[in-house]
């Protein structure tokens, strides 16, 4: 059986369009038949693969947020840690990392989130060793390494605190998908920072793997991390 398309010029007057394609029987050699069958099979496999590719969502939902199907490679970060030492993608490798964008002059949601992460860390048991938590300060003007160290270690001695001055802050924030803005206060020293609320998940290859979005709840976060770690 072979499918042929009747050229337009051969269309009989009054023939409906659906009759343009018709089946006719034609004799063909066995090798040609095999070649056609092979090509057909290839086309079918290609079609299935293409359909799978196009139908695959870019992200997967987990209880606390979204995982990227294709983790994103990060550029060099050139951050400074709480000890004043360089902190880069290498420091993100061989463990999972939760990065929390914030600043230490934030008395409400930042300490609440860090206390929650401390709680989560405690509930992970032995798996907690595979998880690193880092506060990424979007306020390098006030958050010196010394201040970051005092702040994050108040919650857990294992928590990290990282930042970088402008203009690198903007570049790192962009790479991590973090938005931030300085908002003036009543006096110059009482300004606050708007910042992305989501936690950033980095996989052990140092790639951006997803985001945990609010409202963050310890049980859901623990359940998600138990599966990942």
């Amino acid at each position: 059986m072979k499918t042929v398309i009747i050229p337009f010029s051969r269309r009989l007057p009054g023939t409906p369009p659906e009759l343009f394609v018709t089946n006719v029987t034609a004799k063909s050699s066995p090798s040609k038949t095999i070649a056609f069958a092979f090509a057909g099979a290839l086309a079918l496999i290609g079609g299935i693969l293409a359909a799978t590719w196009f139908n695959t969502p870019a992200t997967t939902r987990v209880a606390s947020g979204t995982l990227l199907q294709q983790p994103r490679v990060l550029p060099p970060l050139s951050l400074i840690d709480e000890n004043g030492q360089p902190f880069d993608v290498d420091q993100l490798k061989n463990r999972w990392t939760l990065i929390f964008p914030g600043f230490t002059y934030c008395p409400d949601i930042c300490p609440t989130t860090l206390a929650l992460l401390k709680n989560v860390q405690g509930q992970l048991g032995p798996k907690a060793e595979k998880l690193q938590v880092a506060l990424f300060s979007v306020d390098p003007e006030r958050d010196t390494p010394e201040r970051l160290k005092e702040y994050v270690h108040y919650f857990s001695p294992s928590f990290r605190g990282v930042t970088t001055p402008e203009p690198n802050l903007k570049a790192v924030a962009q790479a991590l998908g973090v938005a931030y803005a300085k908002v003036p206060g009543a006096t110059p020293e009482t300004y606050t920072m708007d910042h992305s609320a989501a936690l950033i998940l980095i996989n052990p290859r140092g790639e951006l793997a997803g985001y945990f979005t609010g409202p963050l709840q310890a049980p859901a976060l623990v359940a998600d991390l138990q599966q990942l770690l």
Partner: protein
């Protein structure tokens, strides 16, 4: 049912009903509950205060200032998360209609307490005063362990 038990049940029911009615009507008082400040890391330049404010009066309550001897400055703020962005708004106002309880709680309305004048540790207390028109509402805040 024996008569003593019946009298006891009727008395209790009456007591609860009268109590609830009194609560609904308001007792003419502005009261504060659960006033607390989470302890902050050493050297913190700012802390947050939370409480429940109950307006038992017949008038709407509007507080627009806060102060305390242990802080260099204090403001009324609200944390909001919009479009994935965490923002702190200088709301400067807490309002409660008659009979309402307004909760200042983490992730929402809170007292923003700048420049602590002394180290406030878990177990310590400090007094803050809300200015609500002609009324001053003072509360003793417990410093609580964040963990």
């Amino acid at each position: 049912m024996n008569p003593t038990r019946s009298i006891l049940i009727v008395t209790l029911t009456l007591g609860v009903t009268l109590g609830l009615t009194a609560c609904q009507r308001g007792d003419g008082q502005i009261t504060t509950l659960n006033a607390r400040i989470p302890a902050a890391p050493p050297g913190a330049g700012v802390m947050a205060g939370y409480l429940d404010l109950r307006n038992g009066t017949q008038q709407a309550l509007r507080c627009d200032a806060v102060s305390g001897p242990d802080f260099g400055a204090a403001e009324i703020h609200r944390t909001v998360v919009e479009d994935g962005q965490s923002r702190m708004l200088r709301e400067q106002i807490v309002e409660a209609v008659p009979g309402a309880i307004v909760s200042l709680a983490p992730g929402g309305l809170h007292l923003m307490l700048f420049r602590p004048q002394r180290e406030l540790r878990a177990g310590d207390q400090t007094v803050l005063t809300l200015r609500c028109g002609d009324t001053a509402v003072s509360a003793t805040f417990q410093i609580q362990d964040l963990h």
